[in-house]
């Protein structure tokens, strides 16, 4: 075992980044709860159309736009950037620099989102999926994001060791590519819109890129760090990690066109997307092989990461299956597609985020999480909620798809068939909301307990074990 002074588990890098990173996590969690409330409203409206229908702000279309905006730009962006900065800081080996930028960026990012949400609610939505925020907040988003990511890029460039690790690649990729994506999508959709169906094509590309080139890398940055860190073993089949990384980046954004199967676009667009979907299976299988150690051990972070990893891989298989036109014929335009999206965003990406946050928080605050019961409660409710949500949406979608393809079944009858499952969806959203409230309370309690003790008592070194050196597998 190395001497504690060089290998202390909680380092100056953590204490320096504490408040900016906690601010990112806190903002993410606030938006997660807000998004949970809105998702509940939207899901109630699916079986009870009159719910809040008299209020223009909460008409179903707008609530749907608010849900996806708060979830992706509120929760996923804040949490993901927090994780990426933390990973890059730790692996960079020295305290994060330019953290003032990160703080200012976070504040402006969240202000822009708040403004964007008001814009959507009052009728300024762009109507582009995942790009709903009105044109007047879009430039602010780009600027704020760049400010947030500066620290991460500096930490990468100024890293102590010459060698690099998969976490760093994914984190840097997400930080660096997203502004380009956002600017390109804004230019082609908001500032100088392309004509006709091209808007749908470009938006499809953007939505898929957000998933494949931004959110998935952010989630993997955390998972690739936490898994070997907590198992103490080097990742198996790691020599394939670079190939898997580049496969995701180069092929990922092509797979978005599968949502346009049968649509008013030339056949090659969905066909190319389907081919990309199958190519991506390589990425997913390597990630699964690399991170399979997560299933061998317990622990809070691993509970979430193992679930997240399974959902991430299962989601890709489902995407590949439903990309066949014969299957898409049933699942396209139905709740099944929503189920796939929730499986990716909630089951995959968010669960990986949760895992990384559970691992990172004690190192940032210098103390354990405040309550073990709340941790267990959150884990149980979230896992139950996601399973219930995805399964009930998938069943509802499957029924809906079969009914839609039978012209004899009228819409009223179809709604009656899916209604029981949509009620389960509402229940699932309630469970998720409750679970996330537990996490939020635990987070606040943990931050408070870190604030209340004298700072020279931090970190609480007695609770952190000194890590040993990593086992290198025999070749």
């Amino acid at each position: 075992m190395s001497s504690p002074s060089t290998h202390a588990e909680v380092t100056a890098a953590d204490t320096a980044g504490r408040w900016p990173l906690l601010l990112l996590f806190a903002s993410g969690l606030v938006w997660l709860v807000v998004s949970g409330v809105l998702a509940l409203v939207a899901s109630i409206q699916l079986h009870s159309p009159a719910f809040l229908a008299d209020c223009a702000w909460f008409t179903h279309g707008r609530v749907t736009a608010l849900v996806e905006t708060t979830f992706v730009y509120g929760w996923c962006a804040n949490a993901g950037v927090g994780i990426a900065l933390w990973v890059l800081g730790r692996l960079g080996g020295s305290p994060l620099r330019a953290l003032n930028w990160a703080v200012v960026g976070t504040l402006f990012w969240n202000a822009a989102i708040a403004l964007g949400l008001i814009g959507i609610a009052t009728g300024d939505a762009t109507s582009f999926s995942l790009l709903q925020m009105p044109g007047y907040v879009q430039p602010l988003l780009v600027a704020a994001y760049v400010a947030m990511s500066v620290s991460g890029i500096l930490a990468w460039n100024g890293r102590r060791t010459d060698g690099t690790f998969a976490s760093q690649w994914y984190a840097v990729a997400a930080l660096f590519i997203f502004p380009w994506l956002l600017v390109a999508a804004q230019a082609m959709l908001v500032w100088s819109p392309v004509r006709g169906v091209l808007q749908a094509v470009v938006d499809g590309w953007y939505v898929q890129s957000v998933l494949s080139l931004w959110l998935a890398p952010l989630a993997l940055a955390g998972a690739y760090y936490v898994v070997p860190k907590a198992t103490g073993r080097a990742l198996p089949s790691y020599e394939f990690a670079p190939l898997a990384f580049w496969t995701l980046l180069f092929v990922g954004s092509f797979s978005g066109g599968r949502h346009l199967i049968g649509g008013p676009v030339p056949a090659w667009l969905p066909t190319l997307a389907n081919a990309a979907c199958w190519m991506l299976l390589f990425h997913f299988s390597v990630v699964a092989l690399n991170l399979r150690g997560v299933f061998s051990r317990g622990g809070t972070a691993f509970k979430f990461i193992s679930f997240g990893l399974s959902a991430y891989v299962l989601g890709s298989l489902l995407d590949a299956m439903t990309s066949f036109r014969g299957v898409a014929l049933i699942t396209q335009f139905t709740y099944f597609a929503t189920a796939q999206q929730q499986l990716a965003l909630y089951g995959g990406i968010s669960m990986l985020f949760f895992g990384s946050i559970y691992f990172a928080m004690p190192r940032l605050t210098g103390r354990s999480w405040a309550s073990g019961a709340l941790v267990r409660g959150h884990a149980a409710l979230t896992i139950l909620g996601v399973l219930l949500l995805v399964v009930s949406l998938a069943v509802a979608g499957w029924i809906q798809g079969h009914d839609l393809n039978n012209a004899k079944i009228a819409y009223a009858e179809l709604s009656a068939h899916t209604r029981p499952w949509l009620l389960v969806v509402t229940a699932a959203y309630s469970i998720l909301l409750f679970g996330n409230l537990l996490l939020f309370v635990n987070f606040i309690l943990s931050v408070c307990s870190a604030c209340c003790v004298r700072s020279d008592n931090l970190p609480d070194s007695s609770s952190f074990r000194q890590p040993s050196a990593m086992e290198v597998p025999a070749l």
Binding site: R62, R195, V197, P266, R325
Partner: protein
């Protein structure tokens, strides 16, 4: 590549640019300059431009997020039940949308497809559509099948004569005596947009593939 800072960033940028060029630019190159189709035998070009009121109505449709439940893209007759449901005789093609400021293709059919709403066999008239938006109950129906968009209407006191736009409602939903339900301008533009939705002309590229060609394709395998 992973160690060389410059190469790594160049690779990341290339990854972004590859996807962008392949999909966004590639399709733009093909469809960006799509022209209307001139039919000599009809002596006119298709599609026609939507009337101004309808173009404004599309923005109302967009900002209410109608696309979260309604698609506007008909699939070809042998792919799904779109034709059998009376949503359209032919598949939608890119040319249908060239004059639309903000095409609303949508990706969910929680409600029916609307691409050809006013071109169906028995289309709604403007009055029926307006009442439907207010009540959420289909003409002749009894149950709520759509969220009622009451916020698009004014419940106003009748001063002098009843407004020419005032809704004619069934007794159970009628306003109190001396009051009337008047659609706002947004409601009227929205209805005018919905009324403009039809795809009457069959473009060459939208015609079904004839079985003979399909068989030849089969031989290709």
């Amino acid at each position: 590549m992973m160690k060389n800072g410059f190469l790594f960033f160049a690779g990341l940028f290339a990854a972004f640019a590859f996807g962008w060029a392949g999909i966004a630019l590639g399709s733009h190159r093909q469809l960006g300059a799509l022209a209307p189709y001139h039919d000599d035998s009809e002596g006119s070009s298709f599609p026609s431009r939507p009337p101004g009121l309808a173009a404004r109505g599309q923005l109302v449709y967009a900002d209410l997020g109608c696309a979260s439940c309604h698609t506007q893209q008909v699939r070809r007759p042998d792919f799904g039940s779109d034709k059998d449901r009376g949503w359209g005789e032919r598949q939608s093609v890119a040319r249908d949308y060239i004059y639309q400021v903000r095409p609303q293709l949508g990706n969910s059919r929680t409600g029916p497809d609307l691409a050809n709403l006013s071109g169906r066999k028995a289309p709604f008239d403007a009055a029926e559509l307006t009442v439907f938006l207010y009540t959420g109950i289909l003409p002749g129906g009894k149950v709520l099948s759509h969220p009622p968009f009451k916020f698009l209407f004014d419940d106003a006191v009748v001063v002098g004569e009843t407004s020419a736009y005032a809704l004619v409602l069934p007794p159970s939903l009628a306003p109190a005596a001396g009051r009337q339900i008047v659609p706002t301008e947004r409601a009227r533009t929205l209805v005018s947009y919905l009324q403009s939705l039809n795809t009457p002309y069959e473009f060459p590229e939208a015609r079904p593939v004839t079985p003979a060609v399909a068989q030849k394709e089969g031989a290709h395998k």
